[in-house]
């Protein structure tokens, strides 16, 4: 399904990114992951490159490398979040969130497109969020970045589909990760789960399997979409 393909997964050391990397590898792709640490030992066999996407210069430098590497698949998964009252969001925090969640996917997408055009095949999946489809209080910086990602994906897909390059967003809902558990706590999780029609958190594998399929040769005509995997949360 992905044999002979090389995938780049940003933020692939943990959580959803880690699950996506594993699923892509299980489907036959060779996988390069990024993380913020300078050294990361991966027993799964990924090639690891350390890069801090909150730093514009480091992102540009990494993008130049990616232009040469020419991966077949790009998964823009790395992201950060900072919750805060709208009137109190500092420009510094706002900028940093846009840099990681919005500018880095933009810069990396620019970097992979020439190689994908050469091969007349490519898949880009931008990991957005339910907060890129709907929003709520204290999520302004994050929602701005994820709504932007949706707009970018839509415009990009319109431009590159003719070259065999398909670009989509996947928007996870409440997913059972260490981060979710540490942020929400048990009470918070119970409260959230009660609002989800499926009455449970999603699993990272449920995101990963769909992202891997969307990135595969089996996806031939889905592009420009923003697909929520949220147990129905954004539809009620």
């Amino acid at each position: 399904m992905l044999s002979g393909k090389v995938a780049l997964v940003t933020g692939g050391t943990r959580g959803i990114g880690k699950a996506i990397a594993l699923e892509l590898q299980n489907k036959g792709a060779s996988v390069i992951i990024t993380g913020t640490k300078s050294i990361f030992e991966s027993t799964e066999g990924y090639q690891y490159i350390g890069v801090d996407f909150s730093n514009r210069e480091a992102t540009m430098e990494f993008a130049n490398k990616v232009k040469n590497i020419k991966p077949d698949i790009l998964i823009n998964n790395a992201g950060i979040n900072k919750i805060g009252a709208f009137a109190e969001i500092s420009l510094e925090d706002f900028d940093q969130i846009q840099q990681v969640n919005q500018y880095a996917p933009f810069i990396l997408s620019q970097a992979v497109i020439p190689g994908m055009k050469e091969k007349k095949w490519g898949r880009i999946v931008n990991i957005s969020s339910i907060w890129g489809k709907i929003s709520k209080e204290y999520r302004a910086s994050y929602s701005v970045s994820k709504f932007a990602l949706d707009g970018m994906t839509s415009a990009l897909s319109a431009e590159v589909a003719q070259y065999g390059i398909l670009a989509n967003c996947v928007s996870p809902g409440f997913i059972d990760t260490e981060l979710t558990r540490s942020i929400l706590g048990d009470d918070g999780i119970d409260r959230v789960v009660s609002q989800v029609p499926a009455k449970r958190l999603g699993g990272v594998d449920e995101i990963a399997k769909f992202v891997a399929w969307l990135s595969s040769v089996e996806n031939t005509y889905i592009t420009g979409q923003n697909i929520a995997i949220d147990g129905g949360f954004t539809r009620v």
Partner: protein, 200 residues
Amino acid sequence: MNKVDKIFNQSTNISEFSEKYFQYLHSILLSVNTKEIATFATLLLGARESGSKIIFMGNGGSAATASHFANDIAYGTRTFEKPFRAISITDNNAVITAVANDDGFDKIFIQQLQVVMRPGDIVVAISASGRSPNLINAIKYANKNNAITVGITAFDGGELKNTVKHSLHVPTNQGEYGPAEDAHMILDHLLGAYLTRVIL
């Protein structure tokens, strides 16, 4: 009868033989899937960035090709501040003869991988036939231990072509070692030339 025999039968004149051999080699090179070359280049460039090793191996003429690849990728690219960490496990006579003598020739590569390979390294097996048990054993070990495996093959690719994660296949007639190994060496120089320029 293979193609080289046919060429010789058509003309024993060395000039004509040479001309036809070159023509045949040209036709072989044109049949190589350049997307497979592109994927191999992608893997090598990724390995350079991540610091993963690139481990070449082969038997006979392909052992020499493995050594040559390691030289051209690691040293010929002249990128010592961030090198391609390419090695060939065909070059240590003490190790190869010790392992072959003590444990069998089919273990000469797998045992070296057990010592030097880590998950995420690229293991490249070079074999015209794709049927060498010592290479296939080593590739199965590398797959199981999460290395990225590449097979540079010829003829019909043999079992090796179907065992590696990434194939770089040179389609030739069965048994045509000469043109197959010529093409493998051209791939070495082609990749060396490309990588040297693309990383500037």
